[in-house]
């Protein structure tokens, strides 16, 4: 479904991706873990075309993303950003229905609003919030609105960038459950980047660990605890001592 092969990306002297390769099968939930600054965000932004890789190949359903028709390509994606990235000047329902109010997926206003309210209900928000501005919502509610916007156009592939960062443990659990349920019921392919291991265990079918710009380890979630990779073991147990610290 999504295949990255030997992807490199530098920002000036900072060589962020150093030959990252990853395969995400269709309908699977892949969680990419790794420390801060290891290139997790750059990895998914490269797939979306928000960052242009210096070299390497990225394919979605066998199609090279660099040559794909951008609109048709992006219409298949939904993304939940770390801070929500809701548009301040638009109400909650206009944010959720953004794609349905303009462009190739445009629908009549009433229909778009109805879809938005249904998606808000799906993420546990009452229709009373539909006409509020994002700034009037708490962090957890903003995250849910972001989630509703990501799934509004029923995408085939959904990316989640640090979905639980900045949330209290209970709200983080709610968001994790929502993501798992939605991905399962939609049959979507999901890629989540996080360094929250509770979140990773709740969401993942597969886990990939990114370290030093490369995928260090990749496997099913049930093998995460049994792998003898010292990098993975240090990371998932949050140990200060180990090969990761030595490399820093």
């Amino acid at each position: 479904m999504i295949r990255l092969a030997n992807v490199h990306k530098s920002f000036g002297d900072n060589h962020v991706l150093r030959g990252a390769s990853l395969h995400v099968p269709k309908g699977q939930s892949m969680v990419v873990i790794g420390g801060s600054g290891t290139g997790k965000s750059v990895l998914i932004k490269s797939v979306l075309g928000l960052v242009k890789p210096d070299s390497g190949k990225i394919e979605v359903n066998g199609q090279d993303v660099a040559r794909a028709d951008r609109d048709a390509f992006l219409a298949r994606f939904g993304m939940l950003f770390q801070g929500g990235a809701l548009f301040d000047s638009l109400t909650v329902w206009q944010n959720v229905a953004f794609r349905l109010l303009r462009g190739s997926l445009k629908r009549p206003l009433d229909e778009a609003r109805a879809v938005a309210i249904e998606k808000l209900r799906r993420v546990g928000l009452d229709k009373d919030v539909a006409d509020r501005l994002p700034a009037e919502l708490s962090g957890g509610m903003q995250k849910r609105v972001g989630l509703a916007r990501a799934i509004a156009a029923d995408p085939e592939i959904i990316f989640f960038d640090e979905p639980t960062t900045g949330l209290d443990p209970i709200m983080a659990g709610v968001i994790n459950d929502l993501i798992r349920e939605i991905v399962t019921e939609m049959g979507a392919t999901a890629v989540t980047i996080t360094h929250d291991m509770t979140s990773a265990r709740a969401i993942a079918d597969q886990v990939a660990m990114l370290h030093a710009g490369k995928v260090r380890w990749c496997g099913p979630i049930n093998e995460l605890d049994t792998t003898d990779d010292p990098y993975v073991q240090q990371f998932i147990h949050g140990r200060a001592d180990g090969p990761i610290a030595a490399l820093r």
Binding site: G49, D71, L74, F77, M79, G83, A85, F98, R102, G103
Partner: protein, 258 residues
């Protein structure tokens, strides 16, 4: 010596690189004029924000400037018994120069800063990236509506500023300096030429284009964090003000060169 030459060369290259980036940004903005989709709702909001909501500041600036101009011309003209030229000089001064330049600078302060801060904040909070993932081109959605609205609405604002500025001079002239009201208006109307008005409105359109373009350009180029937003906002206003004054000189040369 070599170090000095190298740093001079680097500075010159940086200036040319910046000019190149602005030129590419301008060309991209203009190219979206003929490439759908268009966003009429965003265009309408930009018209309202840039045009209608700028009217109070434009009116007040023009009114006080017209009044002060009348006082200055009266005092200056009195040195060689030429007090009677107040209506004519106020009209020509407001319409040819002060109207468009002051409105341009007020718009740079009010609109350019607001556009740059808004777009820069959108960039640092990943709203621009979110637009892309929602199949919406940021230049079509953010830049084109603002630049087009500013270019179209600025001539109207300048026209309003010209009229209010002349009215400011008229109030001071008739209430403070003892001019006859009918004669003041007659002198104003007789002295102004079509070319004066055309130059004024043309300047308005060019200044509006510059003001909105700089706001969008600096907003889109913003670096991360609050400092990045601050730098983008400051840079946009400075660039817009300098470019407006430079364009004013070139347009004045083009319209009125002897």
């Amino acid at each position: 010596m070599m170090r000095f030459v190298a740093s001079l060369g680097a500075a010159v290259l940086a200036v040319f690189a910046a000019i190149g980036r602005v030129a590419i940004f301008t060309a991209q903005t203009i190219s979206h004029l003929v490439r759908p989709p268009f966003y009429p709702r965003e265009f309408g909001q930009a018209l309202l924000q840039i045009g209608y909501f700028s009217l109070p500041v434009v009116g007040l600036t023009a009114f006080f400037t017209g009044g002060a101009l009348a006082l200055q011309i009266y005092a200056g003209g009195a040195r060689f018994s030429a007090e009677a030229v107040v209506p004519q000089i106020v009209a020509i001064g407001m319409v040819r120069e002060l109207g468009p330049v002051l409105v341009g600078l007020m718009i740079a302060a009010r609109v350019t800063s607001s556009i740059a801060a808004e777009i820069a904040t959108m960039k640092v909070t990943e709203q621009i990236d979110a637009l892309v993932t929602l199949s919406t081109h940021p230049m079509k959605y953010l830049t084109l509506p603002r630049v087009l609205a500013a270019t179209l609405v600025m001539p109207l604002l300048v026209g309003v500023g010209d009229v209010i500025g002349i009215f400011g001079g008229y109030i001071v002239g008739t209430q403070r300096l003892g001019f006859n009201a009918a004669a003041y208006l007659q002198n104003t109307a007789d002295f102004l030429e079509v070319r004066d008005v055309v130059s004024s409105l043309t300047k308005g359109a060019v200044f509006g284009f510059i003001a909105a373009l700089m706001g969008c350009y600096y907003g889109m180029q913003s670096e991360r964090g609050a400092m990045g937003v601050g730098r983008a906002t400051k840079g946009s206003v400075v660039a817009a003000a300098v470019l407006i004054l430079a364009a004013n000189f070139l347009l004045t040369e083009a319209f009125f060169s002897v």
